[in-house]
Amino acid sequence: MSERREVRAIGQAGWGRTLGAGIVSLIYFFPVYFILMTAFKTRPDALAMPIKFFFSPTLANFYSVFWRADIQGGGVTNSGFSLYFFNSLFISGTSVTLALIIGTAAAYAFSRFPLRGNDTYLFIILTTRMLPPIIAIIPIFVLFRVFGLSGSYTGIIALYTAFNLPFSIWMVKSFFDDLDRDIEDAGRMDGSSEWSVFRKICLPQIYGGLAATFVFAVILTWNEFLFALMLTGTETRTVPVAIARTIGGQVGVDWGLMSAIETLFIIPVVVVTFLLQNQLLRGVTFGTIRK
């Protein structure tokens, strides 16, 4: 790349391009906007045709996410959604963290202490993600029954950890591969043990990469539906499964309620992504801008 290449400052792309980018973003954002809007609509507004863009907002849908009016008696019952939200957070958080810890250790080993046939092992690990998950669902279901894991936290967390491992190993390995080996050798010369080289020299250099891996794995796990549907029970049900069960109501789909659930559902992912966005950017562009 020539050093004299002109670089435009942010905001200097010109009105035409800015407008174009704005329109494309709006098209992408529209479904999300539609859900957000519906979440604040009353039932008649939500079903109205043509679509109402102006309406008086209500929080009733958010209330009924957690509390349902009883059909008889005028009281309310807990819908169970507070539990489902806890389950989603707990199961995704734990499994992604576990996968990241195990994956980082494995990635370091694959990167720094290659075995005979290292690439073959890596390839085999990746093949587990090449099949559509539905192919594996029946054997996994049988396994869960045999080991008594159906409906347990242990079962679904173990499965999601295994599910996230190939991705974590491959991604984190690429970050380790990009590091300058001389820096590790310098650590050895300076009296570091192999553990210190890993913990104090290599790991701090890839925090951005770990954050990126974490966010991607969280998004995948957070939205996972198929395994959650088959393998969780009433006590361990995650939000995606619970949303699907809401569709099958006796009186048609309550779009307002569903939109409210979805609105709440995307908040944690948005928060995680927002908090880690600086790290994320560094992680994704890792290796492309150094030296």
Partner: protein
């Protein structure tokens, strides 16, 4: 006594012999440069001393102790890397302190040593910065600081100046030399730059294809290159190496020299050379080496001259490099800029007395 001694040190990578039976001793306070073209095994040798590569065979002694089986962290050797290898996530002060953590020193002692080093290398103003915020010269000083902050048995430098621009290189060269003189430890510097080696080293080991070709002081290396490789590698512009024959050799004199005549480019020149040439006898094929600065222009009637045409003139400031050509053989000579010649002229040149090198058929220096 601190010294580094390599005894028949060999490193193989599969079929490739990277370092072949190298013998080398670096005494206390001595600066040894490993000099050679890329791929000659000099860095591998350095890494074996450091403990970053295991030796295939042979012994490495540091400070009287055989260290072959010790990992790098237990050898107490300090090394400066070509690309500095500073810890990117740590500020300069922690980079400097890092080697001290492993020695379990008190916080006060660590702070004291870091202060001393940053004083000596003028790093005080950048202690809080991270490596990516430093200039190349600052990085280099931090890297040197990190290696001298503790009290190692010896120092190793891998291409210490290769990343600096020319002016900075000269300043750093002086600074590193000053630091090393004070420390009085054996030091090994790897470089492919002969100016760097000639100016910094007490002795230079010239390497080629894994073999140590010659170990000598910079002056000896220049004045008495042991073989054709060293002769052509050391010195800029390169030494002229010309095939010749021994016409006849006189009897040995009391000072160990002989008078010999050589046939070269259809002419015969006589010179006083080392009596090693006598053993070759007349008719032997030799290679004559004459440094470009050993040539002098002579007038047409002088004896022992070579005659050639001026092919090209390159001004170099106070001197100029003149390319001569005769019978397809190219000769380079460096003469004062004031010399009046122009391209196409026929000139007579003569080798200054005592500056003719004679190599035998196998490429070894004989006279």
């Amino acid at each position: 006594m601190d010294e580094i001694r390599l005894d028949r040190l060999t490193k193989r990578f599969g079929e490739l012999v990277a370092v072949d039976q190298a013998n080398l001793t670096v005494g206390q306070g001595e600066v040894m440069c490993l000099l050679g073209p890329s791929g000659c095994g000099k860095t591998t040798m350095l890494r074996m001393i450091a403990g970053l590569e295991w030796a295939t065979s042979g012994d490495i002694w540091i400070g009287g102790k055989r260290v072959n089986d010790l990992p790098a962290r237990d050898r107490n050797v300090a090394m400066t890397f070509q690309f500095y290898a500073l810890y990117p996530s740590l500020p300069v002060q922690d980079n400097l302190a890092y080697p001290l953590y492993a020695e379990n020193l008190s916080k006060a002692e660590i702070a004291k040593r870091v202060a001393q080093v940053s004083e000596a290398l003028d790093l005080k103003s950048i202690l809080k910065r991270r490596p990516h915020q430093l200039s190349e010269g600052e990085k280099q000083r931090v890297a040197v600081g990190r290696s001298i902050v503790r009290d190692p048995t010896c120092f190793l430098f891998d291409e210490p100046l290769s990343r600096l621009d020319i002016q900075l290189r000269q300043t750093m060269r002086t600074q590193i030399k000053e630091v090393l003189t004070k420390l009085d430890k054996p030091t090994v510097i790897v470089t492919h730059d002969q100016i760097e080696a000639l100016t910094m080293a007490d002795r230079i080991a010239v390497m080629q294809l894994g073999k140590v070709e010659q170990i000598a002081t910079p002056h000896d290396l220049f004045a008495r290159p042991a073989n054709l490789f060293v002769a052509s590698f050391i010195g800029t512009p390169q030494m002229n190496l010309m095939p010749a024959g021994v016409a006849d050799v006189g009897g040995p004199e009391s000072d160990g020299s002989v008078s010999a005549r050589f046939s070269l480019l259809g002419e015969t020149i006589s010179a006083r050379v080392n009596n090693g040439v006598a053993a070759l006898g007349s008719g032997a094929k030799v290679t004559l080496g004459i440094r470009p600065r050993s040539f002098e222009f002579a007038n047409g009637s002088a004896t022992d001259c070579l005659h050639a045409s001026v092919d090209l003139i390159e001004p170099m400031g106070a001197e100029m490099l003149v390319h001569l050509i005769e019978q397809g053989v190219d000769m380079r000579c460096v003469v004062p800029s004031a010399t009046h010649i122009s391209v196409g002229d026929r000139v007579s040149v003569r080798c200054k007395s005592g500056q003719l090198h004679v190599f035998d058929n196998a490429g070894k220096l004989v006279g």
